[in-house]
């Protein structure tokens, strides 16, 4: 429902428990709003169809679960590198492999954050309630188009099968806003052409966001590719352009960090010494548990995080608390790892991504420069 409200017109998917409901819901409904659903031959095809529709200018999405996410990861880097807006819904189930397809788990967080070879900018959203699934879906489409980036929208089995009663006002369609980001048409395209007249879909800009031209736009014809490319989308291995394009794609994440609201939702006793952090669908049970804890005289503060990447900086909250507990439905504590990572003291970093290995003299210089900066600081 959130997808249709957000203007999604194309969905391609492959049946898989527990994500199939997204496809069956849209089939027979999205057509009434000018859209279409394709049941693809596999997840590889589904995500590439969704990618194609997005290149055509449609708001487009796919949904899958565990094993399907593995297959779709093949195309994930291309989506990010070609700067294509796409929403990928992952309804998590117990893994690994076929796991327990009809059982609950929040085990795919690391995969969504890090899956795919190379370094791939992305957003990961994890709505915490049923009604938030609607609003975060709308938000996911806006974020995808504003930042021309793939967005994981994740729910899990328990969220997918839960029924809850809401007032119709919880889904007021008048409150839905559609922001398509930086799209150029015939009248504005001239400002984004190269000296030789080629449109520049990967133009280097301060905020990292480049113009988009939908097919059919006069003078907008351009190439997009999974290869590293120049501003016009043409293949290049030029080290300076490589660095500029990597920086530009990552700049979009920093821009989004500044421009958007990534706040957690807060419950319980704001002044409590104990802090419980959670993400995704655990919010309901945790909020209910607050009453049981209060009966036993235990007061806690709860932060429920719907944004995994970018995510709120919880450093101050963690440092202010006596005890911090992270609640999640997996064995290793994947979100707990992130919280610990965020509050750790920073190390200095020397990085290189020109496509050429480190050289000894260059490393010596970099290390000296870094140490000098430290001393000065």
């Amino acid at each position: 429902m959130g997808a249709i409200a957000a203007g999604c017109r194309f969905y391609a998917g492959y049946p898989i428990t527990p994500a199939t409901d997204v496809m069956t819901y849209l089939t027979g409904r999205i057509e009434r709003y000018g859209g279409h659903v394709v049941q693809a031959e596999d997840e590889l095809s589904a995500i590439n169809m969704a990618l194609g529709a997005a290149r055509g200018g449609a708001r487009s999405m796919t949904a899958t679960s565990g094993p399907g996410i593995d297959l779709m990861t093949e195309t994930f880097g291309l989506i990010a590198t070609s700067e294509t807006p796409l929403v990928i819904c992952n309804v998590m189930r117990s893994g690994p492999s076929t796991g327990m397809p009809t059982k609950q788990e929040q085990g795919d967080l690391n995969h969504m954050l890090y899956g795919g070879h190379g370094e791939i900018p992305r957003f990961v959203l994890a709505p915490t309630t049923i009604d938030e699934c609607f609003w975060k879906t709308v938000e996911a489409f806006n974020l995808a188009e504003k930042y021309q980036i793939p967005v994981y929208l994740t729910a899990d089995l328990s969220m997918a099968v839960t029924e809850e009663t809401f007032s119709p006002d919880a889904f007021d369609m008048d409150d839905v806003e559609v922001d398509r980001g930086f799209v150029v048409d015939e009248s504005s395209i001239d400002d984004h052409l190269s000296e030789s007249g080629g449109f520049q879909p990967h133009e280097i800009t301060d905020d990292g966001i480049s113009p988009r031209a939908f097919p059919g736009t006069a003078d907008g014809a351009h190439m997009s590719t999974g290869l590293e490319h120049d501003e016009q989308g043409r293949r290049t291995e030029d080290t300076a352009m490589r660095v500029s394009q990597v920086d530009k794609r990552n700049q979009k994440v920093d821009t989004a960090r500044e421009r958007e609201d990534w706040s957690p939702r807060e419950f319980g006793d704001a002044d409590a010494e104990s802090l419980v952090i959670t993400w995704g669908s655990n919010e309901g049970a945790l909020v209910e548990a607050l009453d049981l804890l209060a009966d036993d005289g235990v007061d806690v503060r709860v932060l429920s995080v719907p944004y995994i990447f970018p995510r709120p900086d919880l450093t101050e909250d963690v440092e202010a608390a006596e005890n911090v507990i992270v609640v999640e439905c997996n064995e290793t504590g994947q979100f707990a790892d992130l919280v610990e990572h965020d509050v750790l003291e920073r190390v200095d970093r020397v990085n290189k991504y020109t496509g050429v290995r480190f050289k000894a003299d260059e490393l010596a210089d970099e290390i000296k420069a870094t140490l000098t900066e430290e001393v000065e600081a």
């Binding site: 409200a5 095809s45 990618l51 194609g52 290149r55 449609a58 093949e74 806003e177 014809a221």
Partner: protein
């Protein structure tokens, strides 16, 4: 669409890095000429390319284009066409891209009969990775990964297409420029999935399936009294492994493309600033 479009308008300013003499030059020229002749221009054309030497074609042509993941060009083309029925979609790839890693997609793209053109630049070898057996390599073709030949029958893409319900099946030879262009043009004009396997010789890694070999062995179906609307006759020539053919094996003149079958005819790039009209009906379903 402007009537003064020339095929050179479909050329980009990037010089191809294909080996001198590569069949892909001729294949690409025919594609550009067919697009221009059918009244298309670069701004209303979308070319999808796969990976391999053939995959570079999107860089050398000027149009809207996506150079995608190995083997997945057909699904991308399908998505573009569904979102934008108004855009001319041409998908290009090689024999490895289309019949090996992408073979599964080929069958289903054929079945769907989406109105687009699929050009396979078939050189019967993996060229970009410097000479390994491809799915169309001969059984006894010696390569770095098959010193005694693959010892497997080559894929017959036309038979695969026919068995999957194809509505347009053809083959051309990149060096027979006029005939190649004519066949691609027919595929572009076809209402549905226009599939053309193009013999596009690799001069560097394939010394068996050469220009001379195709010149000497190709039989043109046009001169064979072949009726392309006759599916049985098409089956006979497609399964005839003694000859190499060029021409149109089969065309179903009653083909109804996917978008007509499913009523997908809107430009999906145009959406309102808020929820679409009638979106509240979705909420009303619950009470």
């Amino acid at each position: 669409m402007s009537s003064d479009i020339r095929f050179t308008d479909f050329k980009s300013d990037k010089q191809p890095t294909w080996c001198p003499g590569c069949g892909d030059f001729g294949t690409m020229n025919g594609m550009m000429k067919a697009l221009a002749e059918t009244g298309n221009d670069p701004d209303n054309t979308f070319v999808v390319a796969g990976i391999g030497c053939s995959g570079k074609i999107g860089t050398y042509m000027h149009s809207y284009a996506l150079h995608g993941v190995h083997g997945r060009a057909l699904p991308v083309g399908t998505g573009v066409k569904m979102a934008r029925p108004d855009i001319e979609v041409m998908v290009a790839g090689g024999d490895g891209d289309g019949y090996s890693i992408g073979a599964g997609h080929f069958v289903h793209a054929v079945r769907r009969n989406v109105d687009m053109t699929y050009v396979v630049m078939d050189n019967r070898i993996y060229g970009l990775t410097k000479g390994q057996a491809s799915p169309t390599s001969r059984e006894d073709f010696e390569t770095s990964t098959s010193p005694d030949g693959p010892k497997q029958p080559p894929v017959n893409p036309h038979a695969l297409a026919l068995a999957s319900g194809a509505t347009f099946i053809a083959q051309s030879f990149s060096s027979d420029a006029l005939r190649h262009q004519e066949i691609i043009q027919k595929a572009v004009e076809h209402d549905g999935f226009g599939f053309v396997n193009v013999y596009s010789p690799c001069v560097t890694f394939n010394d068996v399936d050469t220009y001379d070999y195709f010149r000497d062995s190709l039989v043109d179906l046009k001169e064979e009294d072949h009726d392309p609307t006759d599916r049985e006759a098409a089956k006979d020539v497609i399964l005839d492994s003694d000859k190499e053919y060029q021409g149109i094996f089969y065309q179903n003149e009653d083909s109804v493309p996917y978008h007509e079958q499913h009523g997908v005819d809107e430009d999906m790039s145009v959406i309102p600033d808020g929820a679409p009209e009638g979106a509240t009906d979705l909420v009303r379903e619950f009470y």
